[in-house]
Chain length 346, copies 2
């Protein structure tokens, strides 16, 4: 399948690799002038996401311009709630906004069953086009939001520091919360299966708002749904990455699920995570703000990270999406530093 570079898949599976593979969360996006040009042509973020030709163009840009070891399909985690009947608007200054949020039991009847080939055809079409264009140069990563994170947006209706509306519903009416989480999980599993059928070589689940839950609520409201999705994807043989930002307490729990790779944010200890993740692979976790530093500091911090993770079961990345105002030259420096690093043999 990949006559080309399949380092990231081998690292995810725990196989030895001649060097550490590297990509960046949000690599296709505002850091690149070339992306901003396409985005301007599209007119709006949502127009861009729904246009397979343009999605293909921006998905491939970082492969060509940054030299990363994987492409990730350009899309948004909120296409799933949209397909479920809850459309959103992406406002440049405020981020996503839902006009009709999920607030009460009656809203269950508004949930539509998601048929990915019908309702999310534009993403699957984009995946097929990207795969054709890539010609196996690097693997393509598909993705979705974790049910808890989608629940946060659906109930809160917008980004938030604390998502207290979402957490209020989980506390006031846990049964309703679980019904909504189940519906999201079912749609997400179908969607990820369809992405894999369309050609995704690897999938990542983003639990961006994991960190607003304490450890026990995480075990109640997020982990069981991640587990269901991971189990549903097992037959595909495609490696799954779980990235639960802020859930420093959950690395061991996540590693116990049938996923191959656990993503770490930059506050998490590499050594502790290695201890808790057993034979699972890790991904991350340089502070995205490190790419604001001068070049020597970036090289030094990248080397330090590579030493601490070690040569095996590791995919280099930042601990969160690259910040939009990052100099692409510094992103390239990060990528090249990882690709050029040789582990000392003991």
């Amino acid at each position: 399948m990949h006559a080309g570079n399949d380092l990231i898949l081998r690292a995810a599976r725990g196989e030895d690799t001649p060097r550490t593979p590297v990509w960046l969360m949000r690599q296709a996006g505002r850091i690149l002038r070339e992306y901003r040009d396409v985005r301007a042509r599209a007119g709006s973020f949502i127009n861009l996401v729904k246009n397979p030709e343009l999605v293909t163009e921006v998905t491939l840009q970082p492969v060509d311009l940054l030299g990363v070891d994987a492409a990730i399909i350009f899309s948004d985690i909120l296409v799933v709630p949209e397909a479920m009947g809850f459309p959103y608007d992406m406002q440049e200054s405020r981020g996503p906004v839902f006009n009709n949020t999920f607030r009460r039991r009656e809203d269950l009847s508004r949930i539509l069953s998601v048929e990915p080939e019908r309702d999310l055809h534009y993403v699957l079409q984009s995946i097929r086009m990207v795969k054709r264009e890539l010609q196996g140069r690097v693997p393509l990563i598909g993705f979705a939001g974790a049910p808890w994170t989608i629940f946060c947006y659906l109930t809160e209706g917008k980004g938030s520091k604390e998502f207290s509306v979402a957490r209020r519903m989980a506390r006031e009416d846990p049964e309703l919360a679980h019904q909504l989480l189940s519906a999201i999980s079912e749609a997400t599993l179908r969607y990820l299966k369809a992405q894999i059928e369309a050609g995704a070589d690897m999938v990542q689940i983003f639990d961006s708002w994991a960190g607003v839950l304490g450890p026990e609520e995480y075990r109640l409201f997020s982990l069981p749904y991640l587990e269901k999705i991971c189990q549903g994807l097992q037959d595909s043989g495609v490696p799954v990455t779980l990235f639960a930002k802020g859930a420093h307490y959950a690395v061991g729990d996540l590693a116990a699920l049938p996923a191959r790779t656990i993503g770490l944010d930059w506050t998490m200890s590499i050594e502790e995570a290695r201890g808790r993740a057993g034979t699972k692979s890790l991904q991350g976790n340089m502070d995205p703000a490190c790419l604001y530093s001068e070049e020597n500091a970036i090289i030094e911090e990248t080397h330090k990270m590579l030493r601490r993770f070690g040569p095996r079961r590791y995919i280099a990345n930042l601990g969160h999406g690259v910040y939009p105002d990052t100099d692409p030259g510094k992103v390239r420096l990060f990528v090249e530093t990882v690709k050029g690093y040789v582990h000392e043999t003991v």
Copy 2:
């Protein structure tokens, strides 16, 4: 000094107490109708903060209405940057906004030296009035923001999820960042000393944005300044509490400073914190969203927390400020549950 209830001071000092003391972060505030009435009379948040009579009224409300074991002076962490020459505006929907942020080396010359009795007289006056009114019923807590957190607001100019402007400055020009952090620390130390002279029985330092830093950056940009402040307060004999929200990796580092109590947020493990904090006292850490639950669940979760922290070296609190839309009846239930709890003797 306290013929009345000094449980919180004794718990902070590590002395045995007949029961666990309890208060809530943001207890004086929007949860209480009585507060909202005073706030409406004041016209604006900043008018309220600067009016010692009204501050006294809202500071005492939770002592009378909720039965907490401490009062905390009603104020804002941003009064320090304001006194340093960087005024802010509090917008109901957006939170604090600075019109003139700190962005470059030349801004150092705009920093004013802070003389608390001159520049923050209204806070000190409020403390004196509250102390008179309290007549020793419960101790009064003073507070300030941690230098790193104030640095975040001063550079970013407003609240943010990631504070990438602040972290960019710390990475691009660490020397400038340290100069600004030193200036903030000096002002903060003077301010806390003045609060203690005015009558504060205990002080808490809020590092609300600790969590945007990784462990190594926290050691560079926050801990040294907290240390300087704690050292400067040692002679006062007044116990200091450090609350670094999100800095799950720093509990041990914070406990090594000359402070008496370490506050935990609701994502942090009580058992791990006990292991790392040695003989220091702990404060926290119930999920503020738990107060949205039905009564039995609140009682159960409060009991569980009390059991896990144990009877000694402990001040019960939430893991962050109480959410404004919390039912005050449930806050009272939390307070009463703590006050009525009897530890099983083994």
